[in-house]
């Protein structure tokens, strides 16, 4: 007599099915939850660095500005960049250590480079908190300006510019051992607006 498979009560879970489920479920959870969370962290960190560079580029030396030259104060640019990064990443402003609820898992590495253009066209480069991420500063072969080599890619500078480097370790949501390290360079150039109405 034929017995329908549905009436068979001998079913057990195959061991290989268990093993596959053990591997597949964590991967699904990682792809559905931790990966989008990491991507959102990436966007937030990139935003923080870009805002920090943009605001640091307003650290004008007013004495130089009154002479018609744009020069940034490196210490003020560093202060502004650190302030904004601390606000966006929930860090303590004094120690730059992460507080409760911070994106960062540990104290981030921040370095600020200010390149002030002199009247003769050359650049005066100052690096605050030099941690070796701005590896080399050289003349640009294709025109007037300099090239700053960073860990990621070279940055060509032709006007007064501030570069902000941020490196931070974040944490996963479900998988606590997943701690990606993000590295960014934000750049902002300061120049007079040729179209400004006096």
């Amino acid at each position: 007599m034929k017995r329908h498979p549905l009436s068979n009560q001998k079913g057990i879970t195959a061991i290989h099915a268990l093993v596959i489920m053990t591997c597949v479920f964590p991967m699904l959870i990682f792809a559905a939850i931790d990966l989008p969370y990491a991507m959102e962290n990436h966007r937030q960190l990139k935003n923080a660095v870009d805002n920090a560079a943009s605001s640091a580029a307003y650290s004008y030396d007013k004495a130089e500005l009154s002479q018609g030259r744009i020069a940034l104060i490196p210490s003020e640019a560093e202060l502004v960049a650190n302030k904004l990064i601390a606000a966006n990443l929930a860090l303590d402003e004094e120690t730059m250590e992460p507080v409760l609820g911070s994106l960062a898992e540990s104290k981030p590495r921040i370095s600020v480079l200010v390149a002030n253009q002199k009247p003769d066209g050359s650049f005066e480069v100052t690096i605050k908190n030099n941690i070796g991420v701005f590896t080399n500063v050289r003349k640009w072969d294709n025109g007037a300006g300099i090239v700053v080599d960073t860990e990621m890619q070279p940055v060509i500078i032709q006007e007064t510019t501030v570069l902000v480097y941020l490196e931070t370790e974040t944490h996963g949501l479900f998988m606590n051992f997943f701690n990606p390290v993000f590295k960014y360079v934000g750049a902002a150039q300061a120049q007079f607006n040729p179209n400004a109405i006096p």
Binding site: H4, L6, S7, Q9, Y37, E40, N51, Y58, A87, N88
Partner: protein
């Protein structure tokens, strides 16, 4: 008596093992949880972009034009609330604040660029402005999984979005 149907529906010997039922329920709930979490995260990305846009406006203007309820037409806050309403969120339950981090100065209802007045956060103040939006979550799938697993709240009831910027207006 012959079975009228091709397979024995009346056969009471056939059945699912209790382990199969529990494991299938667990699997289904895990899938529902993944879908529910995804449906929570997707709108959040769009909301984050909206708040980022507000932050860029506040950076240039030294604050945001309009009041906290978005009642004045053509202002930054009104456009934000209108955008939220277009996405299906209830504007009456949205809380939008913009204030400086340390001195807690209100950065809403600032003087627009080109208008007379000095009601805005100046660049020289060196203050960090914090824009904060609390928007109620619309996804209800995660409620099911919370009941099944008997856990406390897995995700907050509101999206809490925050951006920190400094004014670039002299």
């Amino acid at each position: 008596m012959k079975h009228l149907l091709p397979f024995p529906l009346r056969n009471r010997k056939g059945g699912f093992a209790i382990e199969a039922i529990l494991s299938m329920a667990f699997v289904v709930m895990m899938l529902v949880m993944a879908i529910g979490y995804y449906s929570y995260m997707m709108p959040r990305e769009a909301l984050v972009r909206e708040v980022q846009l507000l932050a860029q406006k506040a950076k240039i203007q030294g604050g945001l034009t309009g009041d906290a309820t978005g009642s004045i037409l053509g202002t930054d806050t009104e456009m934000f609330f209108a955008s939220m309403e277009a996405r299906g969120f209830d504007r009456d339950n949205i809380v939008l604040t913009c204030e400086t981090r340390v001195a807690k100065r209100n950065c809403l209802d600032v003087t627009p660029i080109g208008s007379k007045g000095d009601r805005y956060i100046q660049r020289d103040d060196m203050e960090v402005m914090v824009i904060r939006a609390e928007i109620p979550v619309q996804s209800s799938l995660l409620g099911l999984t919370q009941v099944f697993f008997g856990t406390i709240q897995m995700v907050p009831e509101q999206y809490l979005l925050q951006e920190s910027i400094m004014s670039e207006r002299w």
